[in-house]
Subunit: 438 residues, 2 copies
């Protein structure tokens, strides 16, 4: 690592430890050291050194991941990209930006807003996650029901491969079909195929006006029906989020939002259309609030963004991420409630409902090194239910380490063989985040 | 090929010849035979036989391709998917359809419309191209300025690999991130990685109302400025097509549309917003027509769909497909005009202008086996200009055989090496459409 300038390599275990975990409970391995890359050349030097010494490298953005993708492996180098924070270019006419991987997601969006544009993908973690981490996990978010996931906003990448060679994929244009879609392949590859050192992102016109409502329901099923009605009516919502009673209670206990005893679910919806139309489609709601100012809208959407920290106050969280065809949402939610009851586990659920993406959060006692068996048993049931409903194990968080155990249920041996074949093409020494994702 | 039922294999050269070309002038090789697959099992049997006998296989949809992707190779089997035309499932609630590859693009759209939905990707060839061909080329179309290209409407695939094994990729859900994006990798791979035998497609709500305008300009640059203005104003056009004077003249000579002598360009635009707003943004237009009925709208958009057949009346066509960042559109068009003048070649240009995707059509004498040197020289200049402007060689038609010569200018040796590495993983014997795309 002598090739790296002073001060970019940390080896003091007390310091490196703080880079060894993401937001999962997973116990990390012991890293050799942490590289704080400030440029592509630092990344190249690190990857060359790692290849020469056969040392595994774990790329890391902000460490907000929920699947263990950035968790340290014994004897690895953690390659942090969080200091590469330049927005190199922002072209309002072409609606693109060229950015480094350490840019915080919300900063990208704010920079775009100055030009009447937005960067659409907005994971709930958007104030703390990086663009590089979003790309590597193909992050979703609240707005993706309308604007798609991170891959849909990615036009091209600069990637440092395992051996240190620099690859440029994709383009600056809206469309392009020369050769295989390498850009799309890197997006969602969880740091196993290459280290992203720059990205050309697609920006979009920010909508002129947004209507926001929050509707309360006395049953989860009614709320799920309202989701279907809003979609079917063609409202084209740009946000459609569902929270269950456990979630609402945790927020109420913290922030005192005046939760009614009978409220079992809340739906928050935004669209460019009329709030009254959306409200009317929430026929079974016990109460509908409509935002009449941008501040009120932020407050309603803010409720949703409180969900995760509110749960963390109750204990340790295993945050899951199943996704089902939208019509199966009520059945999925019923399965989660049944699993919670059967195993006497606290599960608090939020959903990017418009996409059928459901986050059951399994809450367990603080201090335990890992979730107790009842939590795993309930989680196992939830995963299997999602697959039975035609769904997937992970809508947006990725496989990382956490979901390896179940991966085979969804994908089968042929997919595994092909994924490993691709991995071999890009990383023949298997030093890039080995054991993750596939 | 004894494994295939009677009547599915054609070997009479007079008959097979009609399956040997796509819509390019490229002289085809001599196929051994044509398989008219009617089921996945037919495809499996063909691929097994081909692997055993090391015979190259050229998958074929409707043969409307413009890059030579479906052109026969000497001694190959042409595997036609055009008889696999079932729409196996159409779920309005989940907004998805599961279809076979031979479904005609417009038939898919019509089936969706019966439920208030649409299948968004609409290449100009949508009445004659197949979904399988669209997937294999990642086809674009008029509406993709708003709704994205074929890849953006593809959720999952069933693919028969070179050795005859059946792979399922992707999902039925709107989102999903288990493992690498194999679905995206097959889309746009021009039949070189596997044969698509079924696809799970994303449908979208059909818009409630659409405003349509057609604006005439006395300069191409003014038209390009109007494109930029419409985008910048946030009209979110769902169609934004540009035609140059040569194109308009060819249509006028055929259909007598009353073209004014001073008109040098026409812009056709659609959006869900107001026609007056779009018209106002065409400040420099000499004339703006607004459709007031759906029939009038179809007529205006129909003008654009006449462009290609109108050109074919003038001679043989080499249809090109460069794409540049939207702001560089005027420069791209200027370069095309200059190349036409310099080499005394007739070039007639249409553009999916909202995407910066420009189709200069080089028209040359009928009866020639291939374009004369002046056409190639002009085309070469156009390609280089596109790349200099930060663009790409092909926005939607693919590389096929036609663009192989220039591919290296855009992608470089590392991309080539990786593409071939991927090819090797999926098709180690190199029997699937060898020599195409990469
Ligand atoms: C409160 C909270 C809410 C969340 N909400 C959402 C949500 O709504 N939607 C969602 O999708 N996720 C959500 N997440 C999960 C997480 O924020 C996302 O997965 C995010 O994309 C991770 O970004 P990061 O910068 O923290 O990446 P990290 O956690 O540091 O890394 C994630 C993965 O990316 C790899 N990686 C990071 N940077 C690079 C790079 N430059 N090149 C190659 N590989 C790299 C890592 O190796 C790892 O595999 C949430 C997390 C929290 C804590
Ligand atoms: C008048 C006209 C207008 C056009 N306008 C457009 C346009 O607006 N946008 C656009 O993108 N294109 C356009 N095209 C080009 C062409 O229509 C598209 O490329 C279309 O996607 C080809 O579909 P096809 O079924 O004819 O495929 P083919 O030409 O038969 O094949 C195209 C490629 O796909 C492969 N392939 C076909 N089926 C399969 C399968 N099931 N599995 C694996 N590989 C397969 C073939 O091997 C070949 O490489 C136009 C063509 C014409 C003639």
């Amino acid at each position: 690592m002598a090739a790296l300038p002073e001060g970019r390599v940390l080896t003091d275990p007390d310091v490196t430890e703080s880079y060894a975990r993401d937001r999962t409970f997973l116990p990390p391995g012991r890293p050799l050291g942490v590289v704080l890359a400030q440029s592509r050349d630092d990344v190249v030097a690190t990857m060359r050194w790692a290849a020469d010494h056969r040392v595994p490298v774990v790329p890391r953005g902000a460490g907000t991941g929920l699947a263990g993708g950035a968790t340290a492996i014994d004897g690895c180098v953690i390659l942090s990209l969080s200091r590469m924070t330049a927005i190199r270019e922002l072209s309002p006419r072409d609606e693109i930006a060229v950015v480094e991987p350490g840019v915080i997601t919300a900063d990208m969006d704010r920079a775009a807003r100055e030009h009447g544009l937005m960067y659409a993908p907005d994971p709930s973690s958007f104030e703390i996650s990086t663009i590089g981490g979003n790309l590597a996990t193909n992050a979703g978010g609240l707005r993706c029901v309308k604007y798609g996931v991170t891959r849909d906003s990615t036009l091209g990448l600069e990637v440092v491969l395992a051996g240190g060679r620099v690859l440029r994929t994709g383009r600056r244009t809206m469309k392009g079909v020369t050769g295989y879609d390498l850009t799309g392949l890197f997006v969602g590859s969880e740091g196993t195929l290459g280290v992203i050192t720059a990205a050309t992102l697609r920006l979009r016109r920010a909508p002129r006006s947004i209507a926001t409502i929050a509707a309360e329901f006395t049953s989860l099923r009614d709320a799920a029906e309202a989701v279907a009605a809003i979609i079917a009516a063609g409202c084209q919502p740009s946000l459609l989020e569902l929270m269950d009673r456990t979630t609402l209670k945790s927020i109420d206990e913290w922030k005192n939002i005046g939760l009614e005893p009978s409220t079992r679910a809340m739906l928050i919806a935004q669209s460019e259309g009329s709030p009254d139309e959306m409200a009317a489609l929430c026929g079974a709601a016990s109460f509908v609030a409509t935002a009449s100012t941008p501040e009120e809208a932020d407050e309603l959407v803010g409720l949703r963004r409180l969900a995760y920290p509110a749960k963390e106050r109750l204990g340790q969280c295993l945050t899951e991420d199943v996704c089902v065809p939208r019509s199966r949402l009520p059945e999925m939610i019923t399965s989660i409630e049944e699993a919670a009851a059967r195993h006497d586990v606290m599960i608090s659920t939020v959903a990017h409902a418009g996409d059928g993406n459901v986050h059951p959060v399994f809450i367990f006692e603080r201090g335990l090194a890992e979730p107790p068996p009842a939590v795993w048993a309930a989680a196992d049931e939830v995963f299997r239910a999602a697959l039975d409903l035609g769904g997937t194990l992970t809508g947006e968080h990725g496989v990382g380490v956490l979901k390896q155990r179940w991966l085979g249920l969804e994908t089968g041996p042929l997919v595994t063989e092909l994924n490993h074949g691709i991995k071999q093409v890009f990383d023949p020494l298997n030093i890039l985040n080995p054991g993750k994702a596939i």
